[in-house]
Point group: D2
C-alpha cells in the first residue's frame, strides 16, 4: 500500500484537473510537493520554459482560456513565483537527481486532465469520498493524476536508495491533445538520456498486472476545420445564405465514411463541433475539431488526406469556404526488447504484482513516442510500461477511476527498474 501522503497528493490533483497547457495548479503543486519531500536532495528542478522547448508546443488554447485557468490556479493559493514561470501556458516540469557515475535514466509521466464532466454517481469513489473534480467540465479521466504521483514517488524512492547515476523525471503537459510530447522531446533535458521509461496506468489491465512493454501506438494528427458561409434570415431569405452548418454536417457524415484500410488500424473522430448563432439565422460559421489515426504514419496520412478532401468538398458543396489547420501530431514508436526484459524481470519479483504480460498493444495514441524516438535516435533505449489497475469506467469516461494500490505498484516497479539499470547498464550500445 502506498503511503497515505502520496494518496492525498493524487486526490488533490484529481480534485483539480486541468486540461492541456492549463496545468498551472498541477505543475505548481508538483513543484511544491517535490520541494517539501526532497528539498536539497534535488539537483535540478526546471519549470515552464526551462522544462520544455516552448516553440514546439502544439494545440495551445487561446489566451482568454489560459487566463481563466491561470487565475483559477492563483485563487487556489499556489506559489506565485512558480506560477509566473508558467504564464502563457508554459506548463510542465523536469526534476533531476544526480548520484554520481552511472547511466542517465529518464521517466516520463503526463499530468493533464480532460475537458469532460465527472460522474456524480454515489458509486463513483471520487464522488463518494469527496475528491470529485472541483472544476466543472474537467476531469482526470485517464489517470494522469496517478502518473504524476508515481513520478513524485519514484523520485523520493531513488533519492533514498543507493542508486548511482542520474534520474530525470519528466512531468509532461498536454498529452491528451498530443501537444506536449514534442516540446519536451525537443528540450535539452532529453539529449543525454540513456534509457527512457514511460508509464500508463489501467488500459484494461487489472490491479496486480504489469505489462512490461507496450507497443501499437497509433500515429495521430489533429485537424481543425472552420467553415465560413454567409448568414441570412432563415425565414425570409434562406436562398441568400451559405449554410456552414450544412457543410459541417456533410463533413462529419463523410469523415466517418472514409474507407477502412487493409494494411492496419485507422481511426477518425469528429470530437468537437459547433456552429451557428441563432435559430433564425442561416449559420455562417461552423467548426469541426477532428483527429485521425493510423497503425503506422502512412495509414494516418491516408486518413488525413481523405479527411481533408472530405472537408474541402463539403464546403464547396454548400458554397462555403473552409480553412483546415493541422494541429498536433504524434508518430508511433516501439518498446526496446532489452528494456522490456528488464521491466518484466523486475516486475516479476515485485510484491503485489501477480502477473506480468510481456507485450501488449495500446490501440491508442501517445506523444510519449516523441521522447521515445528522440532517445532511440540518440542511441538510447525506451520502454512504455503498463501498470494494471481496476478501473470501473473506461478511459475517457465519466466513471473512470483508479485503484490506488496500483500507484504503489507503479512506484515499486519503476524505481526497481531504475536501480537495476544502474547496476546492469541500460541495454543500449
Amino acid at each position: 500500500m502506498t503511503a497515505d501522503d502520496l494518496i492525498s497528493l493524487r486526490r488533490d490533483l484529481h480534485r483539480k484537473p486541468e486540461p492541456a497547457w492549463r496545468e498551472f495548479y498541477t505543475t505548481a503543486r508538483i513543484v511544491d510537493e517535490l520541494e517539501s519531500r526532497l528539498g536539497d536532495d534535488l539537483d535540478g528542478l526546471y519549470v515552464g520554459q526551462d522544462a520544455i522547448a516552448g516553440d514546439h508546443r502544439m494545440a495551445v488554447p487561446v489566451d482568454v482560456e489560459l487566463t481563466h485557468w491561470y487565475e483559477q490556479a492563483r485563487s487556489a493559493g499556489v506559489d506565485e513565483a512558480v506560477l509566473e514561470h508558467l504564464d502563457g501556458g508554459y506548463t510542465g516540469a523536469v526534476a533531476v537527481l544526480e548520484r554520481g557515475d552511472g547511466p542517465t535514466v529518464g521517466l516520463r509521466v503526463d499530468i493533464d486532465g480532460l475537458p469532460q464532466a465527472e460522474s456524480t454517481d454515489p458509486t463513483h469513489v471520487p464522488a463518494a469520498e469527496g475528491f470529485r473534480s472541483e472544476h466543472e467540465g474537467a476531469m482526470h479521466a485517464c489517470g494522469h493524476d496517478a502518473h504524476a504521483t508515481i513520478g513524485v514517488g519514484v523520485l523520493e524512492r531513488i533519492a533514498e536508495s543507493d542508486f548511482t547515476g542520474t534520474l530525470k523525471v519528466f512531468f509532461q503537459p498536454a498529452e491528451e491533445v498530443v501537444g506536449g510530447g514534442k516540446s519536451m522531446a525537443e528540450s535539452d533535458h532529453v539529449r543525454d538520456v540513456d534509457a527512457l521509461l514511460a508509464v500508463h496506468i489501467g488500459l484494461d489491465h487489472p490491479t496486480g498486472e504489469v505489462v512490461a512493454g507496450i507497443d501499437g501506438f497509433l500515429a495521430v494528427a489533429h485537424l481543425e476545420a472552420t467553415f465560413t458561409g454567409e448568414s441570412a434570415h432563415a425565414g425570409g431569405h434562406p436562398e441568400q445564405g451559405r449554410n456552414a452548418v450544412q457543410a459541417m454536417a456533410t463533413g462529419v457524415q463523410n469523415l466517418y465514411g472514409i474507407p477502412r484500410h487493409n494494411d492496419g488500424k485507422t481511426r477518425v473522430n469528429a470530437g468537437v463541433v459547433e456552429g451557428g448563432s441563432a435559430a433564425n439565422v442561416i449559420p455562417d460559421e461552423a467548426r469541426i475539431v477532428a483527429e485521425v489515426r493510423g497503425e503506422t504514419t502512412e495509414l494516418m496520412e491516408y486518413v488525413k488526406r481523405r479527411a481533408e478532401q472530405v472537408l474541402r468538398s463539403a464546403a464547396e458543396m454548400h458554397d462555403c469556404e473552409v480553412d483546415i489547420e493541422t494541429g498536433a501530431e504524434a508518430p508511433s514508436a516501439t518498446s526496446d526488447g532489452a528494456l522490456v526484459s528488464v521491466v518484466a524481470d523486475v516486475a516479476g519479483s515485485t510484491p503485489g504484482v501477480e502477473r506480468v504480460v510481456e507485450r501488449d498493444e495500446l490501440g491508442g495514441s501517445e506523444d510519449a513516442t516523441f521522447l521515445m524516438r528522440a532517445v532511440q535516435q540518440n542511441g538510447g533505449t525506451a520502454c512504455y510500461v503498463g501498470v494494471g489497475t481496476d478501473h470501473p469506467g473506461g478511459h475517457h469516461t465519466a466513471t473512470f477511476d483508479v485503484d490506488e494500490r496500483s500507484i504503489g505498484h507503479g512506484i515499486d516497479v519503476l524505481a526497481g527498474v531504475v536501480e537495476r539499470l544502474a547496476l546492469d547498464g541500460t541495454g543500449s550500445d
Copy 2:
C-alpha cells in the same frame, strides 16, 4: 430629418445590443430616455414583471447567461432601481399616455439584438462612425434599435399633440427568439387596446417607401434537440462509444431534406449546433437548436412533426437518446383592411414618403402576431406597418444597417395614424 437627440439614442442602443431576455441596459436606457423627455407627462411607465406576464416568457436563457448581461448592464452605469425590476430576465417596458376620452391605441416595438458579430468593414457605417457593437458576438442586425427609437419618438410627438384618447407603447423584449410576444400579449395592458400598430423597418423596401399592411407572417416554432450517447476513447475503443455528433450530423442533413409542401411556404433551419468535448473522445453529447416555419400553422406543424421524426430516428440510428424540447412558437396573423387604409392614407401625405405599397408579405415570422391576435380577438383591429430603409446588408447579416432618415418617417407616419384614429375611430366595431 429626425432630431439629433433621437439619432444619438438609436446609436447608443446600437452600441449595446442585447439578445433576447438580456435587454437590461436597453430597457433601463429607454426608461431613462422617456423620463427625461416626458417626465410627468407620462401617465404610466411599467417595467419588468409589471410590463409582461412573466409566466408566459418563452426561450429564457440560463441564469449564468442572464447574470453576465445583467452585470454588464450594471457596469455600464444604468439606474439600479430600474435594473432590479428586470432581474431574472424580466425585461421590456410599457409607457402610457392618457389624454381623455377616445380610443386606446397601442404601438408595439421590439427592442432585442441578435447573437451575431457585427462587421468591422470600414464601409459599414456603424464601424466607420464609431457606434459599432461594443458587445462582441452581439449586434442589432434587424433594426430593433430603430424600432425602440421610433417608440420613444411617437410618445414624445403624441404628448405634444392634441390627441385625445390613450396611447400605449409596448417596448417588447425577445422577439428574435419569438419568446417575448406572448408574455406581452398576456399582460393586462393589451386588454383594452382598440387598435394595435406594429412596425418594422427595412424588409427590402428602400428609404421613402412605406408598406401600409404587412401579412404573410410565417408561423414558427423552435425545437431544441439534445442527443446523449456515451463517450469512449476514440483511438482505443471507438466501438464502445455511442456517438452523439454522428446522430446530430445525420439529423441536420435530414432536417434540411424534409419535403417541400405544395400548400405553401415551409422553412427549416438548424441555426445552432454543438457537440463533443475533445478530439480524442467519442462525443457523448450534442445539441441542435432549430426552427421550423410554415405559411400557416398547419404547414408549420407538418414540418415540426417531420423534424421530430428525423431527430428521433437520427438518435436511434446511432444508439443515442434524444430529448426534444419545443420552445417558443408564434402563430400567423393578418392586418385589418380598415387600419391598412388609414395607414396608407396617412403615409401618402407624409413628407419624405415617396411611395406607399398597400400590402406586402413578410416571408418571416414575428411574435407581434400574439398581440395582433389578442387585440383582434377582443374586437379590436391590428396592422403591421413596414417603413422602408436603405439597408446595405440583409437582415440578420453582419453589414445590416438602417438609413436613419427612415426613423423620422416611422415616427411621422405612426404618430399621424394615432392622431387620425383619435379623430376617425379605430375601424373596429
Copy 3:
C-alpha cells in the same frame, strides 16, 4: 355518358401503357381508330417524323429499350406500315380537319404512360374490370389514356358538326419526361395555329368540375449524373476503391437539402438511382436521374445550379468523377384571359358540368408550355383546360384511375369551345 366505343378505346390504351418515346402501339392504335371512325373525312393524318421535329426530341431512351417496346407493339398486331414510320422512337401523330374558311384551332393531348407498376388491389377498377396494365412496370397513372380518347372524340364530334375552319389535334408523345413537347412545338403543324387548347384530366378536381384556365406551370429540367469511381475487393482492399455509391448517396442527401427560395416554389427530386454490381465489390459506378423545378425559369435555374454544385462536390469528396447531363426542359406559360373566358362560358352551359373554376394553379410541370409559347409568340392565344374527374389515387400513384364520365365532359367542353371559336374568333389580334 360517352359512347361505349370510346370507353373501349380508353381501356385498350390503358391496358397497354407505353412510356415516353415508346408509344408504338398507342400511336398505331390511335391512327387505326381515326381511320375507321373518320376515314376520308380526315384531311391530314401525320405520324412519326411527319408529325414531330425529330431533332428536337429530348430524353430519348437507348436503342435496346426502343427495340423491346417496338417488338412488343408488333406482337400485339398493329398496322406494320404505321409502325415503320415510328421506328427509332419517332412516336406521336397529328390529325387535321379542314372545313373551309375560319380560324385554325389546335388541341394538344398527350399519350404516354409511366414506368411504374399498377395496383392489383381488387378495389382498383382497372384490376377489377380486367383492363389493368398488361405491361408489367408500366401504367397509365396520369390519365393520358383518357386524353388520347378525348382527342379522338373531339375530332369525331367536329367532323360531324357545322364547324368552319381548321382543327388540328396533336397526339403528343413523351410528356412525362417533358421530352416531346418541344419536338411537336417545332414542327410545321403548329405555325398557323390561331388558338391552342391543351387539356388535363383530374388534378384533384372532382367529376363535374372544369377549370377554364390553368396556370402555375413549374419550369422543369432533368439532370442525369453518372458517377465513376474504381472498383476494389470490399473485404480485401476497401482503401483501393473509389466508391461511386457513397458519392451518389451524399449527392442525394444534399440535393434534398438545397435551400428553399423566398421568391417562389422550388422542387428537387432524385427520382431514379442505381449503382454497384455486387455486394463484395466497391461500386465503381452509380447514377442519379433527378429533376429540378421552379415557379419561374429563374427559380428552376437556381435549383439547377445548386444541384450541379452538389453533384460535382459529392463526386470530388469520394474521389470520383461525375458526368452531368442536362436532359429535357420545359418553360412556364400562362393561359390567355380571352380564351379562358370562352372556355368558362362554354363549360358553364355544358350538361354534366356542375361547377366551373375560372383559374387554378398546376403546381407541376408540363411541356404543353412549348406549344402554348410557340402559338403565343406567333400572335395566337393558348389555354390549358382542366377537366375534373374523381380519381381514387393521386396522379403518379398505383391506384390512379379516372371516372370515365369525365371523358365525355372533356369532349363536350372542348368541341364546344372549338365550335364557338369558329363563330366568334380566337381572341387573338
Copy 4:
C-alpha cells in the same frame, strides 16, 4: 509451362464468365472436359443436385435471371443432358478417383465469375488475345477460371500417378456471393474427407510464390434491405410522398459510418443500390444489397447488428418501411499446421516455385470455410493454399488477369501434396 490444352480450357471459361448459380456453361464444360480427358478412369462424376445439397444454397437469383443464363448456355451448344441436371440453378460438380486403400483427400476449387464488366484496354491480355468476356457485364475478375482449370489438371495428374486412396475434386459454384460453400459442405461427398485442400490464385503474391497456409478469413454476411414508401407527383405533391430513396441514401451514408472496432478488422459495403422509377415521381421503393464482415464471427455480428439498426432508423426517419433479409453468410476458419507443413515442404521442391511463404492473411471472406470446418469437425484437417500469380489489376477490378504459368504451379504443388498425403497420412488423428 502448362499444357496448351489446359490453357485453352482456361481461356474458354474466361470467355464465358457466369456469376453465382448461373454456371451452366461452366459446369457442363468442366464435365465435358473431364469425360474426354479421363473417361472411364473417373469413378464418380456428380453434377447439380447430386453434387450439392440444394436446400442449403444461399443467394440464389430469381427465375428469370436463371432462365436467361440457362438459355445462353444452351445456345452455346453444351451437352443438354448435363444442362438438364443444372436446371433451376443447381450448378457445380464433384469428380472422384478411387485408387484403393489410402486417405480421402479433397480439393475444392470455385468456378463462378463476377457481375462486372471486363476492360477493353489493349494492354489487357484477354482483350488483346481475344478471350475477353463474351458476356457483357460479367467477368472472371477473381481467377476462378484458373481454379477450375487447376481442378481438372490435378485430377488428370493423379489419374496418371501411383496414388493410392481417394481424390475428390469439388467444383464449387457461387463463391462470390458466399452462397455455394454451405451447400457443398452439407453434401454427402464431404463426410469422409480426411484432408481438404482449397486453393486461390493471386492475392497480391507474384508468380513463383506459394503461400502454404492462408488464414485470416473474414466472417461475412449479406444483407438486403428493401425500403417501401409511397409515390407522389414530385412537382405537385412532394409532401404526399414517402421517399424511399432518401431513406436509402441516409442508410448508405450511415452504414459506412459504423464505428470501427478495436478487436479487429471490420468491413461494410453497400455494393448494389437502386430505387425509384421516374424523375418526376417521389420514389416509393429502393434497395440496398450490402455485406458486413469481421475478423471473427463476433465482429461480423457487431457490424451486422449496427447495420440493421442504421437501416431500420433510416426507414423510420423518412416514414418508410424496410424489409431486411439476411442472405448468405460464411464463418472464419484456420489452416491446420500439419497440413501447412506438408504444403510448404512440397512447394519448396516444386520447379518454378521460387519462394514459399509459410502463412499469410486473406483479409477477405471465403465460403471454402464451410468445407474446411466440416472436415475439421469430422476429425480431418484442412488447408487453404495460395498460388502466386502476377496480376496486373487487383482482384475484382476490370483489368484483373492471371499469369497462366501459375496454373501449372498450382497443379504441380497440389498434385504433389495429394501424393505425399497418400504416403505419409493426412496429419489428422
